[in-house]
Symmetry: C2
Subunit: 227 residues, 2 copies
DNA sequence: CCTCGCGATTGGTCTTATCATTCGTAATTT
DNA sequence: AAATTACGAATGATAAGACCAATCGCGAGG
């Protein structure tokens, strides 16, 4: 199909990101297909995140690279449609985040360390604003993931985190004590990363995420037990 | 848009998997849109893995759940288009597979243990058939992943493994000695899983995958160094 | 009772036309 | 001369109708 042909063109790098595909009417001429077919092909590529298309005079289909958001959306669809056990998501974090922390300790640039520290500062200040706390917490974990410089795992974390934070009735899971503990944990992890102490960062992260998962699990048990 | 509306219908469970959507012409009537627009909406859902559509009399669009293959495809696009460093993929395996092994030790059913053992048996027999060896090796790792019962990580492994095995010029990376070592490693991991020894399984898997990654890395260094 | 084939149903494609959006350009105004 | 405005062209978005291709149900014929 045409979509496959165009996809190959894009993936093989023959059309660089930022450059435009021919217009729909030109593609009709080139391919011998009808307008509808061409449009369906373009729609496929659009869903795959390979192009964006704008209407208007200098519109058209612009080639782009499927960002991590593309993978994340796909993963979210997967999670939602399978009503994946929140268990599995928590488990995933427990499995992956310590590793990310150790990678971050090894690979983080100064710039990234600064960013994590800045987020952490805001985190400390948000201790009695639950909504902000929730968002900043997510930001921090994603910042650590980004500092790992492993694109695949970054994408995974982005895909997995959102559903967790959505699913969690966070306001009820988060007591002030828990928040204080989280801040301490983050501080410790950050210090280990700054010291380039991979093992330490992993160990602290493992403890932190496990604790979070345990709290979450007990909350879930109560919920399902009560229903 | 119509796609969003139908997607919500599916995700909210109002249309069960296996059931059929209205025919395209019915959707035209219901929505007031044109056939082309309806078709584009369906094409979007198809790419997202939410429906499959067959032509013919009792054809139509059948609702299904986006399988792990859907996530894997998205991940593969991501990997290909970003020319992600094989490094990152190897790193991902090193980070995730030990954890999967420990989960497998905890969660695998007898049925799954049997399956892994069966694959391992074929693995041992394939020692001088490189092509078979390659495929069976992949099978075994995926079987371990499946035994972890963590859908998210299973999907990740399926997404990541294929590109690794594609990228690797496996025949050159695999010497008979390496193959023998892999068989021994698999045997050890399998034994740990059977004994429900999570820590042991993780440690052995970590060693195995790290060794593989090292071999691969040195091969890559040579390649890039020589080019 | 089985087999073959016709026709109906459904997705797949094509054609043509029209609408909506954007931008370049030229006419108009200041 | 410069700025503003209005028109038109290019381009994607949508629509309507027709026909093709594949598939299956069902009836005619063996």
């Amino acid at each position: 199909m045409l979509a496959a042909k165009l996809r190959d063109l894009i993936l093989s790098g023959e059309i660089e990101p930022g450059k435009s595909l021919p217009t729909e009417r030109e593609l009709v001429g080139d391919s011998g297909l009808s307008r509808s077919s061409v449009r369906e092909a373009l729609r496929v590529l659009e869903v795959e995140g390979l192009i964006t298309t704008r209407p208007g005079r200098s519109g058209g289909s612009t080639v782009q690279l499927p960002g991590r958001g593309s993978v994340a959306r796909s993963m979210q669809l997967f999670v939602r449609s399978h009503s994946i056990r929140v268990e599995a998501l928590l488990e995933t974090r427990v499995g992956v985040e310590p590793f990310l922390a150790s990678l971050a300790a090894l690979n983080a640039t100064d710039r990234e360390v600064e960013e994590m520290a800045a987020i952490h500062k805001r985190f400390e200040e948000s201790i009695d604003n639950v909504v902000a706390y929730k968002r900043i917490n997510l930001d921090w974990h994603l910042a650590v993931a980004r500092a790992s410089r492993n694109e695949v795992l970054i994408a995974l974390m982005e895909a997995v985190s959102q559903p967790i934070f959505d699913a969690a009735d966070y306001q009820e899971v988060t007591t002030p004590e828990i928040r204080k503990a989280a801040i301490r944990a983050h501080a410790g992890i950050l210090k280990a990363i700054e010291a380039r102490d991979a093992k330490g960062a992993a160990a602290r992260m493992e403890k932190h995420v496990s604790a979070y998962a345990d709290v979450m699990r007990s909350k879930l048990m109560l919920d399902t037990g009560a229903s």
